[in-house]
Structures are given as structure tokens and as C-alpha cells.
Symmetry: C2
Amino acid sequence: MTTGVRRRMGVEERRQQLIGVALELFSRRSPDEVSIDEIASAAGISRPLVYHYFPGKLSLYEAALQRASDDLAGRFVVPEEGSLGSRLLQVMRRFFDFVDDHGPGFSALMRGGPAVGSSKTNALVDAVRQAAYVQMLSHMKIENPPARLELVIRSWISLVESTALIWLEGRRIPRGELETQLVHDFAALAAVSAAHDEEMSELLRRALQGEPGDGPFSDLAVRLIALASPPAS
Amino acid sequence: MTTGVRRRMGVEERRQQLIGVALELFSRRSPDEVSIDEIASAAGISRPLVYHYFPGKLSLYEAALQRASDDLAGRFVVPEEGSLGSRLLQVMRRFFDFVDDHGPGFSALMRGGPAVGSSKTNALVDAVRQAAYVQMLSHMKIENPPARLELVIRSWISLVESTALIWLEGRRIPRGELETQLVHDFAALAAVSAAHDEEMSELLRRALQGEPGDGPFSDLAVRLIALASPPAS
């Protein structure tokens, strides 16, 4: 519309710009350490003008977190083609890209610092977990999961979170290794559950039909399933 | 000192009584739903007298949480005898006893409700995780764990937490099954890590020497280790 560098932004455009600037700052350092003054300065506007768009730091934080949550939930959406193992590996790469980009903010949020833990932020975190869960079911082509499968998927998602948090502490293990390992962990947890339950064993067998023998998943999974299957009687 | 039913308690005795009463209430319902009036009534004293011992609900909650944390951390301490698998199974039973007794309070705390998430409560939760981690190392007779072993143990502890939280939602899976499964999960996660790393493979092999062939651990672990070992070259 205009070529001026300092052209006036519309209300929504300004809000979106502030959210972007805040997300960038909240991602790089713990949100507690980021001040409104800093956000104003990074956005090139005055402090009172920030308050014109957002009543306080918490509301700006929640808006930034909403954007990050939408982004993160989207990382679990990959094309439903190829083997389950290769899709999960793709998802893990996209997830670790996110964690890499938003490290300090991600840690602060998940560890529950003083600025977080509001019911709004908890709801956003839960929404991401739920989106990841729904995507997993979709990739496994399962609509009505039994309790044991729900447990395996949801507890694996929590394992993914905690692995990322521990990784962020010192990045002492190459992330690529963890990405593959988490895919294998899923296979392993599912196989352990299958070893305890016939229905899980059957479900897992079906979900893994069509896995290529050389995929990242079947590499471990095929042998784990053989292990988990009840002996032929 | 006195045989009267309503004898006067000393300050510390009264504090301990209030903590016990509060812990009981905070365990059975979400701490947000428990009022000081209720605690006073359950303790048989007046509301102002509660405030005489604790400045507010948060400080009473923190004191109750401190007691619960000490209790929970103690659940990971079992005699260092018998196989690793049988000890872990014993620990899981003691842990689920705790979860069973403190269900709603445990869920509220771990899910981060509005009344929680203070730096004090976070520190208590972290202290329990750390105590569990130290006990695991002690049972495995390992003093300077490499990063990969630390990751396996700590992420497994988080898996134990999330499994308990999911179980509490509807108790749809018998807890005994989950206790055994979590021991197997530890073996499985360690085995996956060993499949990625020679040092882990060696460590795990040593830690599992002396496991009886019919123990809850080696049942799965022996086969997983064989699987995780690099092919003889």
C-alpha cells in the first residue's frame, strides 16, 4: 500500500507484529526475563503503545504462546504416505526443529515457571498434546483406540517432551540420534504393551503391515513384535 | 502429658496435625477446592487459629506437599538386594500405592493447576524426581552415568509420572499391569538406547548381570539386550 519505511500499521497487523516480536524474545530467553520495554524497543514502538494493544505482559505472552502452539501442533501433521516409521521420524525432526528454535521459552513453559501455569497456558499445552495424539491415531488409521493404546501414545508424547527438555539442558547427545531413538521408543513401548495384551498385539501387527523392512521403525519394531507375540500354541 | 481429649497441643504438634489434616484433604480433592474453613473444621479448631500457624492456604499447601514429597521420595528407597527387576517392581508398587492414596492432589499438582506452579512447589517436585534418579543409579551401582544413561533414567521417571496421571483419569487398566509394564518399559528404553550406543550396551549388560532368568525384568530385558547388541563381527 505504501512504500514508506515507517508507514502506519493497521490494528490487526500491529498486533501480529507484536506477537511475532514477543515470540522471538520469549523463545530465546525465559519469558520471566523479558520486559515490556524490551518488546516495545524490538518492535520499534513506545511502551504505552504496546499496552494499547495488549493489557499486560501475560496477555502478550498468551498470544505468543497461542501462535507457537499452533505452529507446534502443525509439526505433527505430515502427509499420510510412506511407512508409519518414516512419518514418525519426519514428525520428530519437525518437532526438534521447533524445540531448537524456541529452546529457553519451551523449557520455561514446560517446567512451569512463575510467569506460566495460568489455566490459559495449561490449556494451550494440553491442546498441543491432544493434536499430537489425534495425528498419531490418524497415522495409525485407528479410530476408537482401546485404553492401552491411548496410554501408549499419550505416554510416548510425554516421553518426547521430557526427552526434548533434558536434551535442551546441555545438548550433550546429537538431536538426530534422539529423533531416531524416539521413533524406536514408540515401537518399544507399544511392543511392551502388546506383550501384556492380545488386543494390543493384534492392533500393532495391523498398524505395522506395510512397513518396509529397512525403515527406521521396522528396523526395531519387527523384532520387538516377534518378541512381544505370545508363543504359538 | 494429659489424658483429656481436648488437651492443648504444643505449637509443633499442632502444626504437624494441621499438615496431616490438610494433606488428607488436598489428596482427596483438587487443592483449589479445599478451603481453610474446611481444614479448620476437620482439625477441630477455629479458622483464625489455622492462620495463627500458617499465614495462608499456600503455605499450608506447601507444608503438606513437603510431607508428601518426603513420603514419595522414600518410596524409591528399597533394600539393595535381589535383582534390579524385582527392586524396580517393588518401587513401582510403592509408587502406585502413593498415587492411589493421593490421586486428585497428585493430578492437580502434576498438571499445574492455579494453586500450584509456585517456585516452591516446582522445587519439591524436582526434588522427588532427583531422589528417584539417585536411587535408580544406586540400584544400578553406577556412579558417573554417561549422558545417555541419565537421559534414559530421567525420561523413564517422567514416563512413570505420565503413566500414573493417565491411569488416574479413569483407572481403566489394572494398576498391577502398569507396574510390571513400567519395569519392562525401563528395560525397553534402555535397550533402545543401547542399540544406538556401544557404551550404553556395555553398561546395561553389566547392570543386568545376576538378573534371574525368571525375574520381572529379565523376562523382557534379556531378549531386548540380545536384540540391541550389535551383530558379532
